[in-house]
Symmetry: C2
């Protein structure tokens, strides 16, 4: 079965301490002894059990990343950023998924305990109590987009409010006033922030938002498709649909196509996140650009700041700004169209 340090020591005729010294690069070992041990190590194909090592050293040189899901372009981009930054530090990355379930968050956190030196959590369902109950005191934790204000944990949050406000301002600026929105779920804080941004843009333009243009989705492509079908059934069709993420925008595009309508000629569509697929769509999707990859890098940088300063730095709370990536899925509406629509809605 597994070769242990004891077997190497026995065969090399030395103590386990000496084998450990050789394995870990201590210089106080005679060259001849060293060679003899290395030879046995190679012969027996010994590799240390890092779990046992972690137990005694109380550190593992690994970072945990807990995501709601492991697939999909958004998370894939987060992972890419985290992975690059962790690798740069020559640490290992442990990726796990909570499947958006509180029980599974607990299970994943428990599993990571003793196995990671810090943990990055990106999960909407997470709360302080859950973290404090399941993680050792002092373990560095960086929250990604968790909308959780706790002074113990670093947090990095996308400015969903600002992004949505800017997108809607852009749409209003190119003449749209009847803008439907596909939300992300009643209890989702991100969705609530984006909705607030949507409404704020109207107010900032001296206009009122229309609640009957707010539709429910759950951030999946299928829910975007369904919501868009409802939008298209309205007596007075909106001139634009703003989906709170790109996957729902993709679904909305499908429904619009099926209805025999053209984008953006008949109706404009835009999304949020600017995941890689956005530029491949036809027409290419206008989207609130989130520096997803950079999110991951930032999280890792916070982690290493914490690890290297051993509690001497206080938790940072970073709001990550978004930008608009204007492509071809939205078009300007002329003033005549605009005015007639505004009068009829009042």
């Amino acid at each position: 079965m597994k070769t242990t340090i004891k077997q190497v020591a026995e065969k090399a005729g030395v103590s386990i301490a000496t084998v450990s010294r050789v394995i870990n690069g201590f210089e106080n070992v005679n060259a001849e002894t060293r060679e003899r041990i290395m030879k046995v190590v190679a012969e027996l194909k010994y590799t240390p059990n890092l779990a046992a090592r972690g137990l005694i050293m109380k550190r593992t040189e690994a970072i945990g990343l807990l995501l709601p899901d492991l697939h999909g372009e958004f998370f894939s981009e987060v992972i890419r950023g985290v992975d690059e930054a962790v690798q740069r530090q020559q640490y290992h990355l442990l990726v796990s998924s909570s499947h958006n379930d509180t029980k599974e968050i607990e299970a994943a956190l428990r599993f990571m305990r003793g196995r990671v030196d810090a943990i990055i959590v990106m999960s909407p369902q997470v709360d302080s109590d859950l973290l404090l109950s399941n993680l050792p005191k002092g373990l560095p934790v960086v929250l990604l987009n968790c909308h959780l204000n706790n002074p113990h944990f670093d947090s990095i949050v996308i400015d969903g409010f600002g992004g949505a406000r800017d997108m809607v301002s852009y749409l209003l600026g190119i003449g749209h006033t009847r803008i439907a929105v596909i939300k992300g779920g009643e209890n989702n804080l991100e969705s609530q922030e984006r909705l607030r941004g949507y409404r704020t843009a109207f107010i900032n333009h001296g206009m009122t938002y229309n609640k009957s243009l707010e539709f429910d989705g759950d951030f999946t492509e299928a829910s975007g498709y369904e919501a868009a079908r409802e939008v298209l059934e309205l007596e007075e069709r909106p001139t634009a649909i703003f989906a709170f993420n790109d996957s729902m925008a993709v679904g909305a595009i499908g429904a619009i196509r099926e209805a025999g309508l053209r984008i953006p000629n008949d109706i404009s569509v835009c999304g949020f996140d600017d995941i890689p697929v956005a530029k491949y769509l036809s027409p290419s999707l206008t989207s609130v650009h989130v520096p997803i990859h950079d999110l991951g890098v930032m999280a890792v940088n916070r982690v290493f700041d914490r690890l290297q300063n051993k509690g001497k730095t206080s938790a940072a709370h970073i709001l990550v700004p978004t930008t608009l990536q204007i492509r071809t899925s939205c078009r300007k509406i002329t003033v005549q169209q605009n005015q007639s629509k505004e009068e009829s809605s009042r």
Copy 2:
């Protein structure tokens, strides 16, 4: 810092064995004692150190997955399949990346040792010696697309040869005879298998393949873009490009667009893998469909077969068939065009 079982035992006034019995659901503990312990556990927020537990129990209920990279749609789909199947078995999934580097493969394998009960490896650079040197004897290993024939390890391989042959047969069947190919790299076995399929299709049609239509790429979008630019510079432009993966096909599409050509009117394009983005492209990409997600599920099923039968089953070697996903990026060429082209190439 961390609460240990000793602290719980002390506060509850029992031995660590009794605490362990309660934590692990043994019934031979008095109800009153049990309650007292559970109360202390909650109060001290004790969670077991699973690394220590794994040391004594010699199993961790975790499966390792080693991929060349963690991002990108292909790997994201593999992860999705693996994650679902592992979760179904109530095990944990540890995902790690080798970045296509032998040293990093070794480091990742060493890191997983003692932390996983089995490991799924998907890495072109892997060889038997590497695995045997870095993993404990008896640890179940499932190879995904490694083109490595070793009787100790289960392996699951995509039928790249058959898929490429079928795609090229399809292209030949709709009139294309000048079919350029964008390969995946000189040392890549997958690319070599697909090239063999490409050539076999010509032979099966009683035709000869043309080596000057074989271009080098490295499975990235950028390399597909460059290769396609070379293709388009040929004096006699091919009527179709077959890229050995979808990412390179995406790159090729970009180059074709830049050259002011239309797909499929001026030139047809097809890819391999049928990753999710394929259907969003314009025109939607014709691609060799690989059941990526199912690959992951199959690998996990093999793992659990091995774990539950404790060496009593022999290694399985599965060749996974592909299908063609015909979309709109390829078009039929008429017979007159076809014949004149064939005569001039002879």
